[in-house]
């Protein structure tokens, strides 16, 4: 009896240890660091006041949130129909679609983004479209524009959204849909009133995942948007590695973590009220 109670604990022990070593301790030490200063001893709020007084950081935060929001909506809009179609395909076709969805994840983000840089830049095929180069004020096509970053990021995010939505849609009893269709509901009505509400948990978790990934990304925004469209992740990297100001970088990371936590709490609340 005793043994059967300790065994589950033993099984979760490795992951708990990993979480503590790789997540709890680093986040806690970042939290502490964010209230310190490189120059002087003791605790201070200076990092946070510096942040809220810096127009560059505030603009970058607003840009980060705005782009994360747009990218999440776009990824979900693409992922939900795709996942629905995939759930209704034959097993073989579904495997093919699944591979097509997951395959981009096998390539490094840097490589994929360099592909976009060539495609979106002045030497790419799109540059032949009249007016394309003028999309950025430096005549670089989509490079250096938020639209360019959003497009490249959505490509990164869609697989994550598809996977979380598909998991839930696959679990929906097909007979419910059959029932609604035999009762005379159109394809769209069935999708809207039966599939979508039941898929909501998957959509919420997919959206949360996309939002968290987007807000913390800096490689793609850096390569496509460049130095002139900084996101908050880029500033954290810069303050940590170039300026060596770890406390200030930690403070920004904590603010970002807070933004993610608030979003998760808000979407969960919204979703649970809808699902009731």
């Amino acid at each position: 009896m005793n043994k059967s109670r300790t065994e589950p604990w033993l099984l979760v022990l490795p992951v708990m240890a990993l979480l503590v070593i790789a997540f709890v301790i680093p986040v806690a030490s970042s939290l502490i660091a964010s209230f310190t200063s490189t120059g002087s001893p003791g605790f201070t709020l200076a990092n946070f006041s510096d942040f809220f007084e810096s127009s560059v950081h505030l603009t970058a935060s607003a840009r980060t949130l705005r782009m994360a929001f747009i990218q999440t909506i776009a990824s979900i809009l693409i992922a939900v129909p795709l996942a629905y179609i995939m759930s209704r395909l034959s097993a073989r076709a579904r495997v093919v679609m699944m591979i097509a969805t997951i395959l981009p994840l096998m390539t490094s983000v840097v490589i994929r983004t360099f592909g976009w840089v060539i495609l979106m830049g002045p030497s790419g095929p799109l540059a032949r479209i009249p007016g394309f180069l003028e999309l950025s004020n430096s005549h670089q096509g989509l490079l250096g524009t938020e639209l360019g970053v959003n497009i490249a990021m959505v490509q990164v995010l869609v697989p994550f959204a598809v996977l979380s939505v598909l998991g839930v849609i696959n679990g929906i009893d097909v007979r419910l849909q059959e029932a609604s269709r035999t009762m005379g509901a159109s394809f769209l009505r069935n999708f809207w009133h039966v599939v979508l509400p039941l898929a909501l948990p998957g959509i919420v978790s997919g959206a949360t995942l996309c939002f968290a990934l987007s807000i913390s990304s800096f490689i793609t925004p850096n390569l496509i948007g460049g130095a002139q469209l900084p996101v908050i992740g880029a500033f954290i990297y810069q303050d940590a590695t170039v300026n060596g100001d770890l406390p200030f970088a930690a403070a920004q990371a904590m603010l970002m973590l807070m933004a993610v936590l608030i979003t998760i709490a808000a979407t969960n609340r919204l979703a649970s009220s809808r699902m009731k």
């Binding site: 560059v56 840089v117 430096s138 005549h139 670089q140 130095a227």
Partner: protein, 354 residues
């Protein structure tokens, strides 16, 4: 239970064994007559390859030493020296970002006098200007100048050409998070009448150009290569040795030192204080300063020579800064850089961000 104990015993033995193996002094002891060992830092990659062929191998052969290279970039190397102050593990350390100023101030490196170097008299002034403060001599110079597409534009002559309306939308600046970006900004700033204490003339002119879309801002050397190859960039302030990298990648580019002169990146070689074999380390550094070795830095890495006696091959005379032009190169002191770089970066971010 028994099995668990056995496992614990085994693991701890293994851990202990690996710990002992890491300890200095144990393991391979140095027997008498065996070659002495020098530990030097390296920047890795092509730099290490060139340095190994030009300096390490010939020196090992001539002096019956083995040289161990440890990959450490300048800031990390300085941090290691500080951490190992009581028992240093490195003999020769290379700095590219002015860290020798801090290292000399903190007595982490041993002073080298010009008279103790057989090549001392042949060095250009800027290579030995730090010796009096206890810094090591400069062994390599990479000037910052203008890299331009020869098929698109005429040879530029002034830093102000980056603001020429003819080249609008075809200029790339490098972000200040990159040290060459900083040196380029300071050079433009000087041409605009600014100083290290007042970088506003340079930063505001560059910021205006960037915000108007007349210039793009790239972040790394690989971004620069891409800017020239696929972003229709014709002109960029950057380092002399990187122009050669671009040429090797097939870009039709040349490098020019603007008339106003410029800042340059100076790589110093320093003997670490408190090590047993400082005379040998000094001899090693001296060897790297000889005209033969310097010629290999010039031909292999497109650096400028610090030794006046170095023969510059004809085909490289248009590609590297040499002779009296070297006087136009200025050195940014490590102290100034350490003190101001964060402020410069902040001002820069505000000027370029949209």
């Amino acid at each position: 239970m028994k099995r668990r104990t056995a496992l614990i015993a085994f693991t701890s033995t293994a851990v202990l064994a690996s710990l002992t193996a890491c300890m200095p002094g144990t393991g391979s002891g140095s027997a008498a007559g065996a070659p002495t060992e020098l530990v030097i830092t390296t920047f890795g990659g092509d730099w290490q390859k060139n340095f190994t062929d030009a300096v390490v191998k010939p020196f090992e052969k001539a002096n019956n030493v083995t040289i161990k290279q440890v990959t450490l970039y300048s800031a990390d190397a300085l941090a290691q020296l500080q951490a190992q102050k009581s028992s240093p593990q490195i003999d020769v350390v290379f700095f590219s970002g002015g860290q020798e100023a801090t290292a000399a101030r903190d007595k982490l490196i041993a002073p080298i006098s010009a008279s103790s170097l057989s090549n001392g008299a042949d060095l250009i002034d800027s290579a030995k200007s730090g010796l009096e403060q206890g810094e090591g001599p400069v062994i390599q110079i990479s000037p910052v100048g203008l890299t331009y597409r020869t098929d698109k534009i005429d040879k530029p002559t002034s830093w102000n050409d980056v603001f020429d309306p003819k080249y609008k939308k075809h200029v790339a600046f490098t972000d200040l998070s990159n040290s060459y970006g900083t040196l380029g900004m300071l050079s433009i700033n000087q041409a605009k009448g600014g100083t290290a204490d007042d970088v506003t003339p340079g930063i505001s002119a560059m910021g205006q150009a960037a915000k108007a879309g007349d210039a793009v801002v790239i972040k790394t050397s690989s971004d620069l290569q891409q800017a020239f190859s696929s972003r229709d960039i014709w002109l960029a302030p950057y380092a002399q040795d990187y122009a050669e990298t671009l040429r090797k990648a097939g870009q039709p580019v040349e490098f020019v030192l603007p008339a106003e002169g410029s800042m340059a990146s100076f790589i110093t070689a320093n003997a670490v204080a408190g090590r047993a074999n400082i005379p040998l380390a000094t001899k090693f550094i001296d060897f790297a300063l000889s005209s033969d070795v310097q010629a290999k830095f010039v031909s292999g890495m497109t650096y400028s020579s610090v030794n006046q006696k170095t023969e510059i091959p004809e085909d490289l005379k248009s590609k590297v800064v040499w002779g009296s032009s070297l006087d136009k190169l200025q050195r940014l002191s490590g102290a100034t850089f350490g003190e101001k770089s964060a402020t410069w970066l902040k001002q820069w971010n505000e000027a370029i961000a949209q």
